[in-house]
């Protein structure tokens, strides 16, 4: 039964294409979804003519499945159309109208070649076929939009994981927000890459801004530390709040030899010690002339001035 439908469709497309095209384009232009600011009648004419030609080829072999190889040309054209309309700011409905507005003129002509008694039975499969094509455009449209969202999410992730040089050889990574699996991986790679680039001996991972830590996050953090050590740098985890400390213990996470500190300040102090630096209070006593001489000599030795 469906083969008869396709045969009728084939017949209409072979014989009646010109008038069909005109009616279809008229429909599109008159539709409430028409955007004269975004597209012209001529554009629609070109697109519609191309579509009918491609559909004619697809239907010629009697194939009904729009996902089959016979319909590849049609699908590709719809892919391009949906993507370009998405980019131009059309809505999904406005895009699908391209297909749905074909129904009326097409069925009009089909009914002339099909007998009255068989009309409904013959037309239904074609109706379904056009619905599928219309939905296809919507899906492609959606996928296009999703790509944009994913790209923006990526950019957001990169922005919210800064790596800061606290001092020569000491890096800090303040993590903010929840660490889901995907984000933690990106963060991990970013941190390790920055360690290589800076030649930092110590990286402080501060998790003050992380509200909760689950087993997966904890494992990822520990893996980051292990990887950094393999590379020849060391990590200190700081900013461990009481709740997180409890969670870590309850979850039975083994910290092993990873050093943890409550505050970034404590971690920084340790890091400085490790790289052999000492912080001294500058003297506030009034300067004497001898001191100035000593300062100048010291400066000369350092190669300054």
């Amino acid at each position: 039964m469906a083969t008869d439908s396709i045969a009728s469709l084939n017949e209409v497309l072979q014989k009646d294409e010109a008038t069909l095209l005109q009616s279809w384009v008229d429909n599109q232009v008159n539709a409430s979804a028409f955007r004269p600011d975004r597209t012209s009648r001529q554009d629609l004419m070109d697109q519609s003519r191309r579509f009918l030609a491609l559909m004619r080829d697809a239907v010629r072999g009697g194939e009904q499945d729009i996902m089959s190889p016979a319909w590849t040309g049609v699908r590709q054209m719809l892919d391009d159309l949906s993507v370009s309309r998405a980019q131009q700011g059309f809505s999904p409905s406005e895009t699908a109208t391209f297909i749905f507005s074909l129904k009326e003129p097409l069925f009009d002509r089909l009914q002339r070649v099909i007998g009255q008694t068989e009309a409904v039975a013959r037309l239904w499969p074609i109706n379904l076929l056009l619905d599928r094509l219309g939905l296809y455009t919507t899906e492609v449209f959606q996928r296009g939009r999703e790509k944009v969202i994913i790209r923006q999410q990526q950019e957001l992730m990169e922005l919210s994981t800064p790596v800061v040089t606290l001092w020569d050889g000491v890096l800090a990574l303040p993590l903010i927000g929840t660490l889901d699996s995907a984000r933690t991986q990106v963060v991990m790679e970013n941190l390790l890459q920055r360690i290589v680039e800076s030649g930092a001996a110590i990286a402080i991972i501060d998790i003050t801004g992380v509200p909760t830590v689950d087993t997966v996050t904890a494992q990822h953090l520990l893996k980051t530390v292990a990887a950094a050590r393999l590379m020849g740098a060391d990590c200190i985890i700081s900013g461990i709040r009481p709740q997180i400390a409890q969670t870590i213990v309850h979850l039975g996470v083994e910290l092993g030899t990873v050093v943890t500190k409550a505050t970034l300040a404590d971690a920084f102090a340790i890091a400085l010690k490790r790289v052999g630096l000492v912080v001294q209070k500058a003297s506030t006593a009034p300067r004497r002339r001898d001191d100035e001489g000593a300062d100048a000599r010291a400066a000369a030795e350092r190669g300054e001035g």
């Binding site: 190889p69 590849t72 790679e189």
Partner: protein, 134 residues
């Protein structure tokens, strides 16, 4: 729709192991794997290729691109006609080795992959399949 790529490579010499690494790397790059995932599958392939050579007496690798709906991935099948593995459970244990390796070959490759499958019986050769999704 394009037919997904698949190729066969021999594993008969140590140089073949290097060629396997490079071929897997190339496919992974083409499929758009990120750098870490590329490294993981290449490392797993190196482990398994070496096993095929050293314990299997040589064999083949089939690299297949797989597409499941929106997902794309790489499947590697290592096959040999060697002596087979008598005790699979033991062989899969970390640190276990009968030869020169650190014994991390099979368990390591499993850890580095999303899917892992092994068929091996004494006298029936060995077939190891791993999959990594993009």
């Amino acid at each position: 729709m394009l037919v997904p790529l698949s190729e066969n490579r021999p594993i008969a010499t140590p140089e073949d192991v290097v060629a396997v690494r490079q071929a897997v790397r190339q496919r992974a790059v083409e499929l758009g794997f990120n750098l870490v995932d590329q490294t993981k599958i290449v490392t797993a392939a190196s482990e398994l290729a070496r096993n095929t050579l050293q314990y299997g007496g040589g064999g083949t690798l089939r690299i297949e691109e797989i597409i499941e709906g929106p997902r794309r991935g790489l499947r590697l099948v290592f096959e040999d006609d060697g002596p087979g593995i008598a005790n699979l459970e033991l062989a899969m244990k970390d640190g276990y080795t009968t030869g020169n390796g650190l014994g991390l070959g099979l368990s390591g490759a499993k850890r580095l992959s999303n899917e892992f499958d092994i068929h091996s019986r004494p006298g029936e050769g060995t077939r190891v399949t791993i999959v990594r999704w993009r």
